[in-house]
Amino acid sequence: MTVADRRAVPKSPPRNAARWQGWFRTVALLAFVFLFLTPLLFAVMVAFKTPEEQAANPIGLPGALRLDNFALVIGQLNYWRLVLNTASVTLLSSVLTLLVASLAAFPLARVQARWTEWVYNLFILGLTLPFFVLLIPLYILSRDLGLLNTLWGAALVYSGIMMPFAVFFLTGFVRSLPIELEEASAIDGCTPLGTFRYVILPLLRPANGTLAMFVALTVWNDLILSLLFFTRPESGTLTPALYGFLGQWTTDYTLLLAAALLASAPLLVFFFALQRQIIEGVAAGAVKG
């Protein structure tokens, strides 16, 4: 990465011109990024305004740094309860997905037989199925099993849906690990479960970190499944409650945007703390090819 940081400068133009060009590029890029983020910046600003201020001057600054909109939303939405629910579902889904998929990835990567290949392909099949195919029967199934409106039920369903990607991702990772360590631990008398626990799982940590971020993002931001799953939005996760808020306050952007900001705040904190890993996780596929 550091090598590419230095761009080769053609010899013909004088160095000064090249430097100015570089400055211009940098400033222009910054200007573009700010323009790009304008909707976001204005949304934050509107969340601090009163409806009267907003009506009088839609692009003006708020008169004071008022938190009334946020206080109102927190009260209306039962905010802390929803955050706790969403965090529980997200955490449960992530842990379950990681654990179950790691267990499966180990033999799928290491046992070479026709039937393991078959099972692997069965998982891969799930990667191509659009979620909509499952939607209707999944709703009926969850209703019949009594999973609707339960946090653990939602976590089970999310884990099932994440399984094809998780298995695909982790199996590929286990295959890239050197097999000698496992052989050594087997010679030392480790059971397969012991080898998994003491050799594979620690080596899988970076892959599981990336996977956990994907699962967490998917679950936290999911709309369609949570909309069907939590028929009583007040006892569910953030998105369906936020969605219900839209109908109630359609025209008052000061409240809507305060709600939007509150709903994304926990995730944005998560993103800025782990931005490097998240972005590299998304970009990784392109570099490995």
């Binding site: 090598v3 590419a4 940081d5 761009r7 080769a8 053609p10 570089g22 590029r25 890029l29 910054l30 573009f32 990024v33 983020l37 304008t38 909707p39 976001l40 204005f42 949304a43 009506a55 839609p58 692009i59 267990l103 033999p107 799928l108 290491r110 046992v111 039937w115 069965l122 799930g126 191509t128 909509f132 195919v133 499952l134 209707i136 029967p137 999944l138 199934l141 884990s159 099932g160 399984m163 052989e183 397969p192 936290w220 931001n221 709309l223 369609i224 069907l228 936020l242 839209l246 952007y253 809507l256 939007a260 709903a263 994304s264 995730l267 944005l268 800025f272 392109a286 570099v287 090819g289």
Partner: protein, 290 residues
């Protein structure tokens, strides 16, 4: 490695159970429902391919299929071009590269509901950011009811999708761009290639892996889109921005036509599988040609 098959299978069992119960079983039942007149409750009567032939005779479904393909095409082209340009730009502005990458990526972290709150405000005909800004810039004649006019609704929603995910495309291209070795770049420059020549003949072919990943992700994501059109326009006005995701949802959950909804879902699956297999094959062969 030596692992006897009962042990190997028992390791896979929890994953297979979750996957089988919540993905494979519903998928199989969905396929079956598409051959019935199931309404969501009560008995399902087998009707053969009637639901599928009904799709071909349903003008609304055909509009929805057309809209889905148009939406996916527009989003993929715009997002790829914009993401690529931004990656080149960031690749040549080292001092603000990290900041730009994070800032551009941030919208893709937000949920569709939050994005839709922001953009209903931007597009609003009553004091919305876009119209107000156009007015302030003296471009008042460009003002529009962005989401309420059949002529602009679908493209306005597509623009929001591009805005949300361009940062991801740019990050994918940037990672690949920074991986191109400096020697390759320098030798092209020594041979007298200008910036655009170097891009067209040297860098663009070497960016093939990033193109494969980002185009595939973008296109499949756009074909199965639901959140943004549903939240921003409900598919309206009329059916001007109705995509297959919305048609499926509506058939199943508002009109109680589960069978018909399941048939539409099967059609969408065929599109997605067809596109992803075909596209991956084409794009991978470009990589192999390197």
């Amino acid at each position: 490695m030596k692992m006897r098959w009962p042990i190997a299978l028992s390791f896979m069992l929890p994953a297979l159970a979750l996957y089988g119960l919540f993905v494979l079983l519903p998928a199989a039942r969905g396929l079956y429902y598409s051959l019935t007149d199931f309404s969501g409750a009560g008995a399902a009567r087998f009707v053969g391919l009637a639901n599928y032939s009904r799709i071909l005779a349903d003008p609304n479904a055909l509009v929805s299929i057309r809209n889905t393909l148009l939406y996916a095409g527009v989003v993929t082209v715009l997002q790829t071009v914009l993401g690529l340009l931004l990656a080149l730009w960031m690749g040549n502005a080292a001092s603000v590269r990290n900041f730009s990458r994070v800032a551009l990526f941030a919208p893709s972290m937000l949920s569709g509901v939050v994005i839709s709150f922001i953009w209903t405000y931007v597009y609003s005909p009553l004091g919305g950011l876009l119209n107000t800004a156009l007015e302030a810039l003296g471009l008042g004649n460009l003002k529009a009811v962005w989401l309420g006019d059949p002529a602009t609704a679908l493209l306005s929603v597509a623009a929001v999708q591009v805005w949300t995910f361009t940062g991801q495309t740019a990050a994918i291209y940037l990672a690949n761009y920074l991986n191109i070795s400096q020697e390759v770049r320098e030798s092209a420059t020594l041979d007298g290639a200008g910036f655009w020549q170097r891009f067209a003949y040297v860098e663009w072919p070497l960016l093939a892996p990033a193109t494969t990943v980002s185009v595939t992700l973008t296109l499949i994501g756009a074909l199965r889109v639901f959140d943004l059109p549903f939240l921003l326009t409900r598919g309206g006005p009329g059916n001007a921005s109705e995509v297959l995701g919305i048609s499926i949802f509506r058939a199943a959950f508002s009109e109680q036509r589960f069978g018909y909804g399941a048939a539409l879902a099967a059609v969408l699956t065929v599109f997605v599988v067809f596109v992803s297999v075909g596209l991956t094959r084409i794009l991978r062969s470009r990589e192999a040609a390197l």
